[in-house]
Symmetry: C2
Subunit: 321 residues, 2 copies
């Protein structure tokens, strides 16, 4: 949510010369995207988003993200479409960083999603999973089960300063995940970070998905679990089963779940909550001096995790038996 | 350069219903303006800037700023034009703050101004002074001579922690300003903060002036002094007399200076440097915990002030004898 890298007009104009986008008319740093620097640029060809990839994104992953956005947009999913240079590439270098220009999407993210919004997210997630089915590239999910214990180690002895007993609870959850994580479920491209910040709406209709920089190849139902965590809890950390039902029903209307996927849902939700608890915990304990971005509260995900520990079936999330 | 106030879509849509701007399509927080929160909004009627006035702006001053922008835009100056509601007002309330919508201006601010840019700024400043001549409202300059000693007191005993001997130099400068400040020079509307951040260019042509939130009624030549400080020094704090000449000559091509104004220039420049030194010093010493904005370095203006202490005539700024 910050502009990390300042780009001079001369530098930007030279970069734009590589594209068929006409003359630069305006460029504003925008507060969008947690990991990267984003500018909204206006040229004689229209409005676009310029992204500079900061150090938390591995440059080797960028071709995957760019190709995925192209693939999904080609299949009618409303996501940013990377703009190619005259030479046919969609990835360049600006201000010493990898950079790309994508189309500008109208729409706004919602702060308090309604059940209708949750339903739209469910349907979009299913469409994304179907549209990604024939995507040729793969990328491992670095933040799946195998990545969680190293995160817990990074938080280390300071974990209990955030909440008493948190270290023991995390140890327990890691053991459960490492021994019981479901395997063999349908897999493919997942967004892996479909939070309200990354979904645009016009009124109650979903108008676009953004920020594919955690996208990877993993269990499709895990993406639903991330979505249930991100969209269906109330600010007091209670689970809203009406929202859960809306998300799951609209998902299934596009891509029905197998019995195995349904059965795995509580465990997948528990793992997804643990994943965001751990990354937020590490960020929380490692705020750099002079940071311009406030870390997100890990406690929110501790509360969500506690809900999942008591869930026993997909019914607890609103799915009909 | 930050988004201080978050605005929900529902709240914003309700606010927009007061205007004839059609339907809201997009809203992005932008990194523009040091004091206020700015959003770039897209509606079916086009692109606009929405400003929420934060606590550093006195709400009682807003009618002056809004009326001034209307007045200047009416006279052909390219500055943001406040958009009126269906009820005919240009100032409303959003998220508990005074708020206004203005037209979107193309153009980019420059980081390293050339002499040509400085010339454009000089001409624009003169046009602003002429266009403001028949503006009926007035606003005292709270940051002119009488406001400087209170600022120095706020910095207080910590002043010398920023640079050894700074307190004594400020005391000396305050005494000079308070006894010798020129009076009786042509006065009128001045921008009072025409820094590179507040001027847009397309190529080498000035395309717009923004951020009129320090504008006030004061000595016109003082505005030139602010401009010389803001535009004509190099990063190493040396004064670039070619840039100074460009700014002054292009100013005089639109509005010639009187002999008294020319003579006063070194003292006005010295005062302008002191004003920015003092406000930066106070900000530097009072960074709030968790601040999202880094204060600007006061030392830059100490160096500029030192240059002005040795200037003896307008010739030192590039003006022909």
């Amino acid at each position: 949510m910050a502009v990390y890298t300042d780009v001079g007009t001369d530098e930007l104009s030279a970069f734009l010369d590589l594209y068929d986008l006409g003359q630069l008319l305006s460029c504003k740093g925008i507060a969008e995207g947690v990991e990267n620097t984003n500018y909204l640029i206006h040229t004689t060809a229209g409005y676009f988003i310029l992204t500079l990839y900061e150090k938390r994104v591995d440059p080797d992953d960028l071709p995957f993200f760019i190709a995925l956005m192209e693939h999904l947009a080609d299949r009618g999913l409303t996501c940013p479409l990377p703009v190619k240079t005259k030479g046919g590439t969609a990835l360049g270098t600006l201000a010493g960083r990898p950079a790309a220009i994508v189309t500008f999407l109208d729409g706004m993210s919602v702060r308090r999603p309604s059940a209708e919004h949750c339903g739209e997210v469910g349907a979009a997630l299913a469409r994304l999973h179907l549209a990604g089915a024939d995507f040729a590239m793969t990328r491992a999910n670095a933040l799946s089960v195998a990545g969680w214990r190293p995160l817990a180690k990074r938080a280390g002895y300071r974990t209990d300063t955030v909440a008493p007993g948190l270290g023991a609870l995390i140890a327990e959850e890691l053991a459960v995940a490492e021994t019981s994580w479901p395997s063999g479920l349908p897999a493919g491209v997942i967004h892996a970070d479909l939070f309200p910040d990354n979904v645009f709406f016009l009124g109650n209709r979903l108008s676009g998905l953004i920020d594919f920089y955690f996208a990877c190849t993993d269990t499709l139902a895990y993406d639903i679990a991330v979505g249930l965590n991100a969209w269906c809890f109330e600010p007091d950390a209670s689970f809203n089963v009406t929202k859960g039902r809306a998300l799951l029903q609209r998902y299934e209307a596009v891509r029905p779940l197998s019995a195995a996927e349904r059965d795995a849902l509580p465990l997948l939700c528990r793992g997804a909550a643990l994943r965001f608890l751990l990354t937020r915990l590490v960020d929380w304990l490692n705020v750099p001096a002079g940071a311009l971005v406030r870390p997100k509260d890990p406690i929110e995900y501790l509360k969500k995790l506690r809900f999942h520990r008591y869930a026993s079936s997909a019914r607890d999330y609103g799915l009909a038996a």
